[in-house]
């Protein structure tokens, strides 16, 4: 169980991004116009389809269950299709049935049922030869036929072409195969290579998956000309850039600030004097002045006491012990009023032996019953957790032998001179708490907690050191530092006392992790911070807008296909962002004048990101 600064930054970033989910009302204004199906061709495209499902659900939450996801696999040479449910289940529902449900006008909400759009997703990473492309195209053809709606289908293959260093040769073979195909006999093929024209590699396909999602979004719209053009056969590729709120940098800033404040709140502890006050230490370790542990006293009260009767029955019971010098006078008096020590002497030591025997039986029963002993240890652990800090527990666990000596009280308790009716139960408590095996198990608990505390302290140190491994916040992002840092500092200043108390309770790595989760929960719920975190990136300041504009309007937007020749003008250009005409400060308002009138604006409903998607036609010979 490790924890480092980048983990925390990632957690923080995930939370920031969650603010951008549909629950926050940031769904797209545009809706899928026609019924649509996303088909995963082979297991290599699994991740892509998972991403597409997530992203399309975010974009069009109302259509979460109306967009069909189908998996296509090969059993030998025979294609097999199944529905991929949103919960990950796979059902054998026939493709025609799936298609029929898409056209179910009573239960779906598409604007038009004139067409069925099918997006095949194919990743070439596992290709054994370029012929695999033909095989999967044939599978796509079979799927189209299986819908039994072929005449209404418009289909597009999103080809995730792996051209990283390990797949260069296979990539070239696939390009050559494509170049020699008759593109008119194929669906439209959108080629997304993970090697960009600037030689950068999208190794984890993250950007290519975003492009695929953006392409699907803009291609299923009410403008029928655009849709028809989009699905026209041929090879296409895209240039793409995404400008988004600097989630990572904001998260890093917040986590750094959080760690800085929390480390200042860490108590500076001196543990060297713990043993200088043995009585105080014993008390903190749970040992009462009678040398017993309260939770074991409770056990005696509930479980063992039954072996010693109360009231008159106690006298009858005591009279069953053999008396050394029996006399009528002795039996006439109440034996329960005899001192425990005297009664023990009178009974050949049988009284002590009796108490020791019943305690031993109870102890053995508890020690041999995993639940019994774990219950004792849990109760003792709870007590230690309330009383000691991680530093103290680590220190104590290294001195268990000394603590053990501190626990053990060789003498009988003073109550031995008191009447049996008073002494007996106290004596049972004493015997159980002073039992060597019981003390050993309690010492084991101290060791266990001490070890957990040691790992926790090491993890904390490592966490602070791991901050050095984080990348510096880029210069262009630094303008938001004061925007976030000020309310953060205010939060930690106001909540210092609560945090200090919580920090004292951090005794293991699990509680350390929970502490950070809780602190993040509070940060996001804090009134002065919640809205700061949920603000759009344009709100951070005008400088941010300018940077975003330059990024989106750059002439060097990377093309996701490396080609030797220029592709000329794009067939279509899209700008995907939150289209908000009412707000003159919105990013849309600031950007629209910089883009040509031929640019289509697509309303994603999200003001945390803006994407530029330019679609280019690729001639087959350009692939060679």
């Amino acid at each position: 169980m490790t924890l480092n600064a980048s983990d925390l930054v990632q957690q923080f970033e995930n939370r920031l991004r969650e603010l951008d989910d549909p629950v926050s009302g940031r769904a797209a204004k545009g809706k899928p116009f026609f019924p649509m199906m996303v088909a995963r061709l082979g297991p290599s495209a699994n991740n892509a389809c998972l991403f597409l499902r997530r992203e399309l659900s975010r974009l069009w939450p109302q259509y979460r269950d109306e967009i069909a996801f189908v998996s296509a696999d090969l059993n030998g040479q025979i294609p097999e299709f199944s529905r991929m449910a949103s919960n990950g289940d796979v059902s054998d529902e026939s493709v025609s049935r799936i298609a029929a449900k898409l056209f179910d006008a009573n239960n779906t909400h598409f604007f038009s049922y004139q067409k069925l759009l099918i997006y095949y997703v194919l990743n070439t990473s596992d290709f054994q030869s370029a012929d695999d492309l033909r095989t999967w195209l044939s599978v796509a053809g079979s799927l189209k036929v299986a819908t039994k709606s072929s005449d209404t289908v418009m289909d597009m293959l999103i080809l995730l072409l792996n051209e990283d260093n390990e797949h260069t040769e296979m990539g070239a073979q696939i390009r050559e195969t494509l170049a020699h195909m008759d593109s008119d006999a194929l669906p439209k093929i959108l080629i997304l290579s993970n090697r960009r024209n600037d030689n950068g590699i999208d190794l984890d396909w993250r950007t290519c998956h975003c492009i695929a999602a953006a392409t699907i979004a803009v291609s299923n719209q009410e403008n029928s000309t655009v849709v028809t053009d989009f699905f026209r056969p041929g090879f296409f590729t895209v240039s793409y850039v995404r400008a988004e709120k600097p989630f990572a940098a904001i998260s890093q800033l917040c986590v750094n600030t959080m760690l800085e404040h929390i480390s200042n709140l860490m108590p500076e502890e001196s543990v060297g004097n713990l043993f200088q006050e043995p009585e105080r230490l014993s008390q903190r370790l749970g040992l009462s002045p009678d040398a017993t542990f309260s939770f074991l006293d409770e056990y005696v009260e509930n479980s063992i006491n039954a072996f010693i009767p109360d009231g008159e029955a106690l006298n009858e019971f005591l009279s069953l012990f053999p008396i050394r010098e029996p006399s009528p006078e002795l039996y006439a008096e109440l034996l329960s009023e005899t001192s425990a020590k005297r009664f023990n002497d009178m009974t050949f030591g049988a009284w002590d032996c009796y108490l020791e025997t019943i305690v031993k039986k109870a102890r053995d029963a508890a020690l041999h019953d995993a639940k019994g002993i774990s219950d004792w240890r849990r109760q003792y652990g709870d007590l230690l957790r309330q009383e000691f800090t991680a530093v103290e527990l680590e220190y104590l666990s290294e001195r268990v032998a000394k603590i053990r000596r501190n626990f053990m009280r060789p003498s009988r308790p003073l109550t031995a001179e008191k009447p049996i009716r008073i002494d007996a139960k106290k004596r049972l408590c004493f015997l159980l708490s002073q039992d060597e095996h019981v003390i050993d198990s309690l010492c084991d608990e101290i060791k266990t907690l001490g070890e957990q505390a040691r790992i926790c302290l090491q993890t904390w140190d490592a966490l602070l050191k791991s901050q050095k491994n984080l990348h510096l916040i880029q210069e262009e992002d630094q303008n938001f530092i004061s925007y976030y840092k000020k309310p953060l500092t205010e939060y930690f200043f106001r909540n210092a006392e609560n945090l200090r108390m919580e920090i004292r309770k951090i005794l293991d790595v699990r509680s350390l992790k929970l502490f950070f989760q809780r602190t993040m929960d509070h940060l996001f719920a804090y009134e002065n911070l919640g809205h700061v975190f949920s603000n759009s990136f344009g709100d951070v300041g005008a400088v941010q807008d300018e940077q975003t504009r330059r990024k989106l309007n750059s002439p060097d937007i990377p093309l996701y296909l490396s080609l030797n020749f220029s592709l000329g003008a794009p067939v279509y250009s899209f700008l995907l962002l939150k289209v908000d005409n009412s707000d003159h400060k919105s990013l849309y308002h600031n950007l629209k004048s910089y883009f040509s009138s031929e640019t289509f604006f697509y309303d994603t409903g999200s003001d945390s990101a803006a994407e530029v998607l330019n679609i280019f036609r690729v001639n087959p010979d350009q692939l060679l």
Binding site: P326, F348, G349
Partner: protein, 232 residues
């Protein structure tokens, strides 16, 4: 002397450890001229898993001419060299377990190698559990009531437990208990030492061993009826 525990070798063996209750002695079978180490533990406790620790504790102690040496509570050891008696030695009481190990002492190197016993077999075992055999008698205590012309015995209100055999060295308080109703009262060494105890009850106590370390046996002969002075 330094003691080393090693895996058993067929050339060195000592087994078939038995207890002669009439003489209170141990007997075994071993190779010719084979020295042995006998480890006495609490009844039913097997020392084999602890032999490395036991060897360390024995270090520096010359056990060759001593009787059983108390190494720690409830664990004693005795070295018997081949010349001392080869196939037997006096025991150290009952209510315990004895285990025998073949060993080879080397005077020159001041080392004694103790070999693990061969796998325990049903017929021939290096382990001998010796329960304490206790004979006792439980009887109702009577006292004599005198009338003008005759006497009669009437219950005194006590039961007597008379201990006929001694408890030996290894008896621990509570090994035996007597049961009256739902209560189990422990029998202590001091009770054995007093030869008889009197219990104020009309119900006959039933004596029960709490452990296998003690076995109740029939008294050797029927003792005369109790005539107590303790009744009142």
């Amino acid at each position: 002397m330094k003691y080393l525990y090693r895996i058993g070798e067929p050339a060195y063996y000592a087994t078939n450890l038995t207890w002669d209750s009439s003489r209170g002695s141990l007997e075994w079978r071993s190779g010719r001229g084979q020295d042995v180490l006998i480890v006495q533990t609490a009844f039913g406790v097997n020392p084999i898993a602890e032999m490395d620790a036991i060897c360390k504790e024995m270090e520096g102690i010359d056990l060759r001419f001593s009787a059983f040496y108390p190494l720690r509570p409830k664990l004693s050891v005795r070295f018997v060299n081949a010349k001392q008696g080869a196939t037997g030695c006096p025991g150290n009481g009952e209510a315990c377990t004895y285990t025998i190990f073949p060993c080879v002492a080397n005077e020159e190197t001041d080392e004694c190698v103790i070999y693990a016993p061969a796998q325990e077999q049903r017929v021939s075992s290096p382990v001998c559990h010796v329960p304490l055999r206790v004979a006792l008698e439980v009887s109702q205590d009577m006292w004599i009531q005198k009338f003008l012309w005759h006497t009669r015995e009437i219950p005194s209100g006590f039961y007597c437990i008379r201990f006929i055999t001694p408890c030996g060295e290894n008896y621990q308080d509570g090994f035996l208990e007597y049961k009256i109703g739902d209560y189990l009262i422990p029998i202590t060494r001091k009770m054995f030492e007093s030869h008889a105890i009197y219990i104020h009850t009309d119900i006959k106590p039933v004596v029960i061993p709490r452990t296998n370390a003690v076995t109740l046996i029939e008294p050797p002969r029927k003792p005369p009826a109790t005539r107590s002075k303790r009744g009142f």
